[in-house]
Amino acid sequence: MAAPIMEFEGVDKFFGDQQVLYDIDLSVDEQEVVVVIGPSGSGKSTLLRCANRLETIRDGEIRLDGRSVVDANVNEIRQQIGMVFQSFNLFPHKTALENVALGPRKIKGLSEAAANEQAHELLDRVGLAAETGSYPGALSGGQQQRVAIARALAMEPRVMLFDEVTSALDPELVGEVLDVIEGLAAEGMTMMLVTHEMGFAREVADRIVLMADGRVVERTEVDTFFDRPETERGQQFLSRLL
């Protein structure tokens, strides 16, 4: 495999006086899919939010392609890090197409025609070619989340971060979103996912990172983790799921 795209090194994160991430070391290689799992409150989502600087870290370093994320121009570095949220956060006053085309138009300065063409392609890729003119309020949760994925892809990021993207969905809508993510994995997109869908984690992940109480407790190849986790915490976590 290739060089690491995203690296965390000794990351400490505090909310006020409370430390929520302890000395996180982690790297994501090119075309690798890393799935972060762990009980709620273990700091998984916070870790992702630190990666695109929605949260600031107190100590340590986060690098994208060897460049410090912390020291970079925040608006520039975020263009290379796609983020998809649990609650979609689509722009309700814009159509699906406008949601996807907005970033390329306003940030990258693409012409309206070029941005719309790209948005059409991306919406087609996530199976929503028929909904380009729909407002988010008229779309199902699964459709909204697929638009959100297309919106993040439109910036042509180096890495995609998925923060519990199926947790707010009705069970029957989870599949369509996971299918899109699997498609991205197959195309070689580098991704970091936080999820509670263990079946999906097993299917899509190259590596599993188990977090607990703000620490990385285990990081293993996916099959190793699910068949015979190396740590006691890993065994405990898996046994509670069964």
């Binding site: 929605l54 263009q79 983020m83 949220f85 814009k94 909904e131 003119g133 407002y135 309020g137 008229a138």
Partner: protein, 292 residues
């Protein structure tokens, strides 16, 4: 079964059925309409002098006042909404200085009576010049516009801030995560939504602005109430000019609420129908293209 009977007897004894409550409401509302409506008909039949009401003299004076009020309202409205948006943006500024200045502004202009503010501007400001040096010959109307603008910008500012606060944090996060600057995220994502959230409150305030012009009579603006006072003291007939006053204010305020309703409908980005969405897309597309 036992609990069932208990509940039934409970509701029967203590609470009324929904239908009964509705009936009482209907009787009260109908009674109110009959009482007020009867009084109104009686006044219109016995108190109003219809010859005077339709005389060109009185009509002309009210018309003059009416168009003056419309001019004052139009200018103060545009200025107070514009300035109010700036105040609202100041309230959410990341700069603590700007934030505090905007807060202080709102506290002062919301916390003192409009009449006091009008007195400061109308009587106080000209005294800052040496006698005879104040450049405005007819200061009443400019003073009125300044007073109404400063006062209502405070309310509009709070409405705008409330509208911004009501936009979920996730909107700003999503826009920033794409790589937008804070200013761009505000302009493209947050403010269009905040505007819709704030529209009803802003419209409400602008209707109050219309009625606040009635205070201008005390700083010698020849507006609608001053015409009333004039006619009442000359003719010793309050009811006839009051009919004029009522109709003229309602004419302005009701067109204003129509306008606000129209604006609200236009900024409603079809939550349930994508057809509607496509319509408003074409209308917003034009203004969007302008700022590139």
């Amino acid at each position: 079964m036992a609990t069932q009977t208990e509940t039934e007897s409970d509701t029967g004894g203590v609470m009324m059925r929904d239908g009964a409550v509705r009936r009482i409401g209907e009787i009260a509302a109908a009674g109110f309409v009959l009482a007020i409506g009867g009084l109104l008909v009686w006044i219109l039949a016995t108190q109003v002098n219809y010859t005077l009401l339709s005389s060109p003299l009185i009509a002309g004076r009210f018309a003059e006042a009416f168009f003056l009020v419309i001019r004052i309202v139009a200018i103060s409205s545009v200025l107070s909404v514009t300035f109010g948006i700036m105040v609202g943006l100041g309230r959410i500024s990341t700069s603590p200085i700007t934030g505090r200045i905007a807060k202080g502004y709102v506290e002062f202009f919301r916390g003192t009576p409009l009449l006091f503010q009008l007195f400061v501007i109308f009587f106080g400001i000209p005294r800052l010049w040496a006698t005879g040096q104040f450049p405005f010959e007819n200061w009443a109307v400019p003073a009125a516009i300044i007073g109404l603008t400063l006062n209502h910008a405070a309310y509009v500012g709070e409405a705008v801030r409330g509208g911004i606060d009501a936009v979920p944090d996730g909107q700003m996060e999503a826009a920033r995560s794409l790589g937008m600057s804070r200013v761009m995220a505000l302009r493209e994502v947050v403010l269009p939504q905040a505007w819709r959230n704030a529209l009803a409150a802003i419209g409400n305030d602008q209707i109050i602005l219309v009625k606040d012009t009635s205070l201008l009579t005390v700083i010698a603006v020849p507006e609608i109430m001053s015409v009333f006072r004039n006619i009442n003291s000359n003719q010793l007939d309050p009811w006839t000019p009051l009919v004029w006053v009522c109709v003229l204010y309602l004419a302005i305020t009701m067109s204003m609420s129509q306008l606000v309703n129209g604006l609200e409908r236009r900024s409603d980005w079809g939550s349930d129908s994508s057809m509607f969405g496509r319509f408003s897309l074409s209308s917003s597309g034009g203004s969007d293209g302008g700022d590139d």
